[in-house]
């Protein structure tokens, strides 16, 4: 048991150290990007858009940007690490070890969660100065941040396993992750959408992550947070089972 934990902990450490060594690119840059979103959208839309009666648009936007950063960076960490290791061939150093598919899965996802949370926290720290934020239900903030990071870390792992070229990974990111993120209510409440798109948004699991996360701040949400946490948890379990199955079968890793 001790051996299992050592190998697993080493892989978590390696995956975390990997992004930390290039923190300018992996941490500072996404924080700056989120800050620019806040400055531009906040400046343009503040006073023109009212989502909740007692919450300014900038305050509404901040949790969305924090969660978006958590999700995008968790995805980027596991997916980029895996695809780089596959293409350069150094994934062999992990595949030759006694690490089980469970340990490999958990290590990649945990490291992705660490990066997502670190960047999300950084975004929160630099944007929180621009609006008054409340923390009505902080436990929900933590729960949805962790679940969201785990889901996107797992999606990144699946994308990294599936992709054999950088452009395949880019397609996964640009045609799946980005639309799901931007159409999840980061910048707006889905109740402002026409009925068709409102229905479509309810099929987007990212919407529940952001809506539930925002509930932790304002105590208001489009969907009951218990419903959101159930949907998000079920989505995580389904994705985790898929990722573990891919790792166990050696799909595109062990030929």
């Amino acid at each position: 048991m001790n051996f299992i934990s050592t190998g697993f902990r080493t892989l978590v450490y390696k995956e975390t150290l990997r992004f930390w060594k290039v923190a300018t690119q992996t941490v500072a840059a996404p924080i700056l990007t989120a800050m620019l979103y806040l400055l531009i959208f906040g400046h343009v839309l503040e006073g023109r858009v009212t989502v909740y009666s007692d919450v300014s648009y900038t305050a509404f936007l901040i949790p969305g940007l924090v969660m978006m950063s958590v999700l995008q960076n968790a995805f980027a960490n596991s997916s980029s690490s895996l695809i780089q290791s596959k293409i350069t061939g150094n994934l062999v150093f992990v595949l030759l070890t006694p690490l089980s598919h469970w340990e490999i899965f958990s290590a990649y996802v945990i490291a992705a969660m660490v990066r997502g949370i670190v960047v999300g926290f950084g975004v929160f720290v630099v944007t929180a100065w621009f609006a008054h934020l409340s923390f009505t239900a902080p436990l929900w903030i933590v729960v949805f941040a962790l679940l969201g990071a785990a889901i996107l870390g797992t999606m990144g792992l699946i994308a990294g396993i599936w992709a054999e070229k950088f452009d395949q990974l880019a397609a996964f990111q640009n045609f799946l992750i980005m639309p799901l993120t931007f159409l999840s209510g980061v910048f707006y409440s889905i109740h402002s959408l026409p009925p068709f798109w409102l229905t479509v948004s309810h099929l987007n699991p990212f919407f529940y992550m952001i809506d539930g996360f925002r509930y932790g701040f304002f105590g208001q949400s489009d969907v009951n947070p218990l419903v959101s946490v159930s949907i998000v948890s079920a989505f995580l379990v389904a994705l985790a089972l898929l990722a573990i199955r891919l790792l166990r079968s050696g799909y595109r890793l062990r030929h």
Binding site: T6, G7, L96, L99
Partner: protein, 304 residues
């Protein structure tokens, strides 16, 4: 005890039969050579041993542990030096080795890591990023990574491809030491003189099948390819010996023939026949076949 047991392993890539029922048994403490031309299936076989490729049929065990079913125990016993020059550009040499050691459950392994680096002349590169190393240095790190958990079985897939003489000498000195200490070593190489110098037993693969499996000494003794070169001062080669000639030439002092000899015992018979025919031998030389002759002969014939 058997270090590696390979039983009827098959692997097919679409229409290509990469391995067609390979069976081998490598004993503990052996220095074993796996030889064959490009595309013979050597790397596929090594990858199956390492768990990087799943066989379509058959079974491989390392120290009795199935590489698929009991992969944890099997991989702990195995160190593999891959053929490709791969590295992780994010880390220094020491970080790379510490991480690799940690994967195998050895977090505090600096004494052995230092010894491996010393033996591979890597000590002064310990804190250098992998990207900054030359190809030869990267190859040394690959070897160090394979040895970092002190595996009883070491597999080296073309470890000296494209490296300088100094590294070869350093590497073989260290690997020989490990072999003397009881580690089993499996080597694939295109440098047949290396295989001849290092390996006690070899298997030759051709088109995914084992076409020769024997000790080095026995292979060289058993397989035709030794040559008896005679320089005749008088007389000529009798007609019934002409089919043995591999290289006829006219020498300064007479006629010179190189004759194929299958067994050492044949030499006496040939000399007696030459004397009977009236030929006078001025000079004589017996050249033993080397691994390259044997390799070429086996690859031509397809089997022993």
């Amino acid at each position: 005890m058997t270090a590696i047991q390979i039983s009827n392993v098959e692997k097919r890539y679409k229409s290509l039969q990469a391995l067609g029922g390979v069976s081998l048994s490598i004993e503990e403490g052996e220095f074993f050579g796996l030889l064959g031309p490009n595309g013979a299936g050597k790397t596929t076989l090594i990858s199956i041993i390492a768990g990087l490729i799943r066989p379509d049929a058959g079974k491989v065990t390392i120290h009795g542990h199935d590489v698929t079913g009991d992969f944890r125990a099997a991989r702990k016993k195995l160190g593999v030096v891959p053929q490709e020059l791969v590295f992780d550009p994010f880390f220094t040499v020491r970080e790379t080795l510490r991480l690799q050691s940690g994967y195998f459950g050895l977090p505090n392994n600096d004494a052995w890591i230092d010894e491996v680096m010393h033996n591979l002349d890597l000590t002064n590169k310990a804190d250098v990023n992998m990207r900054a190393l030359s190809g030869g240095m990267k190859r040394r790190v690959l070897v160090a990574q394979a040895l970092v958990h002190k595996p009883p079985v070491i597999v080296l897939d073309e470890p000296t491809a494209g490296v300088d003489v100094e590294l070869r000498q350093t590497l073989w000195k260290f690997i020989s030491r490990l072999n003397r200490e009881g580690h089993t070593v499996v080597l694939t190489t295109h440098y047949l003189e290396e295989a001849q110098a290092m390996c006690k037993r070899v298997a030759m693969l051709k088109s995914g099948k084992v076409v020769a499996l024997d000790t080095m000494a026995s292979l060289i003794r058993r397989i035709s390819g030794s040559q008896l070169t005679v320089n005749l001062a008088a007389g000529d080669l009798p007609a019934d010996m002409r089919h043995l000639v591999t290289h006829p030439e006219v020498s300064e002092h007479g006629k010179k023939y190189s004759l194929r000899v299958n067994e050492y015992a044949e030499v006496e018979t040939l000399l007696a026949r030459l004397r009977e025919s009236g030929a006078v031998i001025d000079e004589m030389q017996l050249q033993q076949a080397d691994l390259e002759d044997i390799f070429l002969q086996i690859m031509d014939k397809g089997t022993v």
